[in-house]
Amino acid sequence: MTDRSDGPQATRGDGKSAARGASPEPQPTTPPAKGAQGPTPRMALWFLLPALILLGAMVIYPIIFSIFRSFFDSAGDTFVGADNYTAIFTDASMLTTIRNNLIWVVIAPILVTTIGLIFAVLTERIKWATAFKLIVFMPMAVSLMASGVIFRLVYEQDPDKGVANAVITSVGDVFDSSQGYPGARPRENDAAPALENGAVVTRQPIQAGQPALLPLVGLKPDLLPADAVTAKAVTGPGVGGTVWLDFAPGGGGAVGKIDDNEKGMPGVTVEAVQQGAVKGTTTTAADGSFTFAGLPAGDYVMRLPQSNFTASFGGVSWLGPTLITPAIIGAFIWVWAGFAMVLIAAGLAAIPRDALEAARIDGATEWQVFRKITVPLLSPVLVVVFVTMIINTLKVFDLVFVIAPGSVQPQANVIALEMWRVSFGGGGNQGLGSALSIFLLVLVLPFMIINIRRFRREQQ
């Protein structure tokens, strides 16, 4: 909404074709203005003057100025030819920026238009269509700045705060809930058990009557379950041992030894492994001890499988470098789907019923009617929505600026934002900034030409 390009004004020029689809009435053409005592051309000048001055000084002059400025260096006194433009297309981070704009232009308009179409079609069938439309349309009134704040909250990484991850993790937890001790690990020294593919294993095989010690650290003592009691060494004849938290609050205590103030870790799954095959499985008691009943004599490696230590699914890193652009596009869809829906619904409403009825009488299925009649009749509106969205995506600025955290700004960058950053936000290079703004202008040029052509066609 911030950008002037938003919304209808961009569509206006393209509106002609939409009109054909949406309003069957004859359109008023340019009015003949010859009255009885027609006003003089000089009169027109007075009416036009304020607008012409403003447009001339603040829109047209800047275009010309920027073209010149783009051929000079950052200080503005040295002519550098096309260097600034070369920089746009050679700099690695600038290429990422252009690539992002490409992703935006390819994906966002299609999604917005499709979703708008689906909503428009579906709402035809419900009684509370007006309410639904208002809800979906409402984000149009919200500034992109505020939308940015909103989606920063939605995409918060911590599932306790960000609603997106809260939903995802709670769905995930249904299938895979975590118990155990995420984060617990052996100490880093040669005597401690080793880590193998996430499982903790004893370095030496043990035999019956030779209790295994499996000290673990990296876990806060208060995260132990309430039933955990002081760790105890096993003194039986069988194969067994102790899994315990080898860290006493306040430090002290001997490394790798069971001290009085160290607690056992109950509920840990332990496997006895012989030559790669699991021969027995058991679980530790409240004092961390375990014994295998009925294992044949021999050498066994004790293994605590990874399942003891897997953290629960922490959610998706929406604002990380990989997903940032899709995440922002999600926010964009939230903002613009209502716009698409309302325009398309208007187009839909204007489709002559008899054409559809005739087709149905001819035995066409609903899908065929939709594909062969509705969509073609709607296509002018769809094009309008689509083109408007393309222009909007080219100029997207606020959402990226606000949603992407500082460290992923490079991965989320887009041209309109880079232009601001380069010229005002610390870059201090207005030569390059001007080149970028010209580049942006060139990108929207095709739509400018389309607008002019449509308008001229209409004039005839």
């Binding site: 200080a75 003592p221 609050p249 990380g320 500082g406 950053r421 610390g426 870059g427």
Partner: protein
């Protein structure tokens, strides 16, 4: 650029102050120690001046108290204009429009170079230079210079060679504040073993990473190399940079050392990382400057009890003291502007300011005892003691496209390094290529 800092500095130390009995910030505090403070005639009656700086809130109030002292002394009328967070963005168009403020206080020396090149700065009058020679080490004088011409006065400093820790977390793990790199690593390991991730990084705020790098680099490579790298006289592919990055990876590269892992750290802005240590009590240490105190006490920690700091331990030969700071420059030729700069550079002006909370002076003739709290006094003393070997924040010395822009240069590649510390060489090459570009401009 340093969004968080500005606010934080003052508030932070003011809390320290308050805890220690404090000074009355409203008191104009006429300086006791300047010969220049004789009840001279108000020589600047009728002169009006505009000073622009990024400070807001309490920081602005304090600075205005200093300006007030100057007005009372000279009769000049000084107005304060806030530049907002981005001083460069504020000044650029005003300079180009030919209507700059009389004096601007720049958050980075890089801007001094930039504006000197645009011929937007006025050279300091000889009285001001004399004042600088009297009160500052040559290093500081050079910082305010471009092409051999002196333009600026460093008026305010931030101490960046500190590691803050949460005392209860250290007690729980049974460790003492480390004194060198090796004990820092063992302490971190022990804290990690106790179940608390030792470090909380603000990876989303690129400057916190450059601060860390600078401490390690100054420490391992020494002040001379530090100066060379600051000026890009040695390349970023230099072996000394490799060493520093390897050292840095010893703490940033270990999964259990970084709260939430690197991906969370990279989404954490300053001061959220401080909140995670002192508010949510999820980690034990945070490597940042004196102004952490503000956020720590905002999170409910008592500075000096729960929130303590130790000097950044030396990772090599040198005890690092890295400072940040703000530099005052004149953008218009006027007698009033030079008089105000001279006042700011003097021990008299510095002492007025030092009595207020949240201020550290780089002026060696502002005695540590001037400061209102023991913590600030201690910080000020380390600066005075370090004398010639104090260094200025390297990233702030660089062109801002390299040292101070989101998504560019040092910020970006140190973030990449935090994300994946395995490819030191690749990171160095990218840094070098960006540096070459930035210095060429």
């Amino acid at each position: 650029m340093r969004k968080a800092k500005a606010l934080a500095v003052v508030a932070g130390l003011s809390i320290v102050t308050a805890a220690c009995g404090g000074a009355d910030p409203a008191e104009p505090a006429p300086a006791a120690n300047g010969a220049s403070s004789a009840p001279a005639a108000k020589t600047l009656e009728g002169v009006t001046l505009e000073v622009a700086a990024k400070w807001t809130g309490e920081e602005q109030t304090n600075f205005e108290a200093v300006l007030k002292a100057f007005q009372d002394k000279t009769g000049a009328k000084v107005t304060y204009a806030s530049t907002g967070e981005d001083t460069g963005a504020y000044l650029g168009p005003r300079i180009q429009g030919g209507n700059p403020p009389d004096i601007a206080i720049l958050p980075q020396p890089g801007l001094v170079q930039q504006y000197a090149e645009q011929k937007a700065l006025k050279p300091l009058a000889s009285e001001v230079q004399a004042e600088i020679d009297k009160n500052y080490t040559p290093y500081w004088k050079e910082l305010g210079s471009a092409d051999g011409q002196v333009y600026g006065v460093l008026v305010k400093a931030a101490h960046k060679s500190l590691i803050w820790y949460r005392a209860p977390a250290f007690e729980e793990a049974g460790v003492q504040p480390p004194t060198d790199w090796a004990t820092l690593l063992t302490a971190a390991q022990t804290v990690a073993d106790s179940g608390t991730p030792p470090f909380s990084f603000c990876g989303a705020s690129g400057w916190t990473l450059t601060d860390l790098f600078e401490n390690v680099y100054l420490s391992t490579a020494g002040p001379e190399n530090y100066d060379k790298l600051s000026k890009h006289e040695i390349p970023w592919t230099d072996a000394s940079v490799t060493t520093a990055l390897e050292k840095m990876a010893e703490i940033t590269g270990k999964k259990e050392f970084v709260l939430g892992g690197s991906s969370t750290a990279l989404q954490t802005e300053f001061p959220a990382c401080v909140t995670k240590v002192y508010g949510e009590k999820k980690a034990a240490m945070i490597i940042e400057a004196d102004f952490v105190a503000a956020s720590a006490s905002e999170s409910g920690a008592k500075v000096g009890e729960d929130a303590k700091f130790f000097p950044f331990p030396k990772a090599g030969e040198t005890e690092p003291v890295v400072l940040g700071g703000d530099i005052a420059v004149a953008l218009k030729e006027s007698k009033g502007a030079m008089a105000l700069l001279q006042y700011l550079a003097s021990a008299e002006g510095g002492a007025v300011w030092a009595k207020l909370p949240g201020y550290l002076s780089p002026n060696r003739n502002v005695p540590a005892t001037t400061y209102p709290s023991p913590v600030t006094q201690q910080l000020a003393q380390t600066i005075i003691d370090a004398g010639e070997s104090v260094r200025y924040d390297m990233s702030d010395l660089a062109p801002s496209a390299f040292g101070g822009t989101d998504g560019k240069g040092e910020w970006k590649y140190l973030q990449d390094f935090l994300r994946d510390p395995s490819d030191i060489k690749g990171i160095q090459e990218k840094l070098e290529s960006e540096a070459t570009k930035a210095w060429k401009k």
